[in-house]
């Protein structure tokens, strides 16, 4: 097992020496040669490092990360599938990277064609009338859709609709996005079967209902069997149905949210369509809309002109307007496009089926190890609970998660959704081998066995990661005062490496 140096990797600001660094441009003078010194900053207290120092710094930092390329990463609701390297090669083509967003349409036909194809393909795959590729991430797609819903209700003369129904298993972004447009959020409970309680939902429907936001399969990994009844009831009450596409990896090519009755949806191209997560972004969160909502989509969209050429379309009078500065996370769209063309519908469908297979396989094998609270077969992910284990031994889901890290396996999503106590949410994805899944089951089983023999041992894990359990409370208490959120220069010296 690797020994991690106790001192870690020094910060960039603790390295380097003034004057180090490569020369990237010829000498053009000093800023004060061009501007009144009153307009200029007095000093620029950033470190000077030589490129070899930079190389070692970031290589060593990278070695302190888990990643899909290096580790099994069964993080529920995050779809940590393999990111094909074709995607990366395509996104690095200069014809894409060097294209300015204000380039005339005539000079950007390749990019526009690609975007136009994506708009149509996503509409086909998810059963929507039109797609906007503009939103930058899932939560950005959600707020985009809420803005569209609000404008729709204003235009049809029902601005009083202000209630957003959200199941208690929903992602936290759902209520937060709804609240941003002033909607009052009402939580809908789940049944013992892990499905949204249709009766409770119906009871909350009235003339104030604006939107009902659903994830299907939901975050327990279960398909909402009553979805058609739900969308019908919400529509009958005059409300709109929103589909959170976080779990779309279970359904691509198998069923379509549009056919279930959804009016609006977002996708996470960084989950379902293999755009790498990048340590927390950039994502891409396209929004699809049904026939009656499409005219509110953010603009510009891409259109095909009569002569066959492609153009940005700015003339959509009912559009809510743009939701970011430029047209899309284009280089992320390129990656998703590459993924779609190598798979075709059949390949995407096969991936969804295999994602379901992998999840059910792990679920079946873990049944005797941890409690699996819902009887039904799952979709692409499932939840299990360490509640019984905790009662028997005091060992918590957190301890099991930390134990997995020592074995080089990333932890599942923990303590969420809240409806399951001591929850571990496991999503293997389709790109993992049976051998990896078997190894995961073996490691988790041995951790549970060890918990029963020597519960205190688990509280000490992990032992072999670059750092061990960290003091989050201390970080939080200082951060609330604005302390410990950045490197601070030593008091006597206001700059890095002592300039």
């Amino acid at each position: 097992m690797r020994q991690w140096p106790k001192e870690g990797v020094p910060l960039l600001f603790e390295q380097g020496a003034p004057g180090r660094g490569s020369r990237f441009v010829e000498d053009a003078g000093r800023p004060e040669d061009f501007l009144d010194p009153a307009l200029l900053r007095r000093r620029l207290p950033l470190p000077d490092l030589a490129e070899p120092e930079v190389a070692r710094h970031f290589t060593r930092l990278s070695q302190r990360n888990f990643s899909v390329d290096g580790n099994f990463y069964p993080l529920g609701s995050c779809t940590m599938k393999y990111n094909p390297k074709l995607n990366e090669a395509a996104a690095a083509y200069e014809g894409f990277t060097e294209l300015h967003p204000f380039a005339p349409d005539a000079g950007a036909q390749g990019a526009l064609h690609l975007l136009w194809d994506m708009q149509r393909w996503l509409s086909e795959l998810f059963g929507m009338a039109e797609f906007s590729l503009m939103p930058a991430a899932g939560a950005h797609g959600e707020i985009t859709a809420m803005l569209m819903a609000k404008k729709y209700f204003a235009q049809i003369g029902q601005p009083e609709r202000h209630v957003c129904l959200v199941p208690d298993t929903a992602h936290g972004t759902n209520p937060a996005s709804a609240a941003m447009v002033g909607y009052r959020v009402v939580a809908i409970p789940s049944t013992r079967r892990g499905r949204t309680d249709v009766g409770a939902l119906r009871a909350r429907l009235d003339g104030a209902t604006a939107v009902c936001m659903m994830t299907n399969p939901n975050t327990l990994g279960l398909f909402e069997d009553d979805i058609v009844d739900i969308t019908r009831a919400v529509h009958d009450a005059g409300g709109l149905m929103y589909y959170d596409g976080a779990n779309a990896n279970a359904i691509v090519g198998l069923t379509r949210p549009g056919d279930m009755g959804f009016d609006l949806l977002h996708l996470n191209l960084h989950k379902t369509f293999s755009v790498p997560h990048g340590g927390g972004g950039p994502g891409s969160g396209p929004v699809g809309a049904s026939e009656r909502l499409a005219r509110y989509l953010p603009q510009p969209l891409v259109t095909r002109r009569g002569d066959g050429g492609f153009a940005l379309e700015w003339d959509r009078p009912d559009s809510i307007g743009p939701v970011r500065a430029f047209w899309s996370h284009f280089l992320a769209i390129v990656r998703a496009y590459a993924y779609i063309i190598v798979h075709g519908v059949e390949g995407l469908q096969a991936n969804s089926r295999l994602a379901v297979l992998n999840a059910n396989y792990v679920r079946a094998r873990l049944k005797g190890v941890l409690s699996v609270p819902y009887e039904d077969l799952c979709r692409h992910e499932f939840v299990c609970s360490a509640e019984d284990l905790k009662r028997a031994t005091g060992v918590r889901a957190l301890d099991l998660a930390k134990g997995l890290l020592d074995a080089g396996i990333h932890a599942p999503t923990m303590y969420w959704p809240h409806v399951v106590p001591e929850c571990l949410m496991i999503e293997p994805t389709e790109t993992e081998t049976k051998e990896t899944l078997d190894e995961f089951v073996r490691v988790l089983s041995s951790l549970v066995a060890r918990a029963r023999e020597d519960p205190s041992a688990l509280a000490a894990l992990p032992l072999h990661t670059p750092v061990r359990r960290v003091d989050e409370a201390q970080a939080g208490r200082l951060a609330n005062k604005g302390i410990g959120l950045r490197w601070e220069p030593p008091a006597a010296d206001a700059s890095p490496n002592g300039t």
């Binding site: 303590y415 989050e472 409370a473 939080g476 208490r477 951060a479 609330n480």
Partner: protein, 127 residues
Amino acid sequence: MSQPADRFYTKEHEWVKIEGQTATVGITDYAQSSLGDIVYVELPAPGAALERGKPLGVVESVKAVSDIYAPLPGTVAEVNAAVEDDPALVNRDPFGEGWLIKVSLTGDASPDGLLDAAAYAEFVRSL
């Protein structure tokens, strides 16, 4: 967990100690232990009006956030600056130095509907 007998409790896990026209409010040992390490406490400004059962502030731990509800009506007379500066006080001494606010009681300040120590202890056991 023992609950001091000199005060009343709510099912939302606040305690209130009434001394004449003034009451001191805090959260219980059960509440602090369920929340875990508390990192932030948001309290109302002195003078703010409190309505029985309405949120008066927030306690925040590393992984959770919880509203604090006013057990009785009144106006805020004093806030515990020591807790604002060092929220861990609530974890260390929830019934003592970790108190949150003092309230000048107004209106119907009868403790009807609040639990005594025994009833609260029974309530916590049932959870």
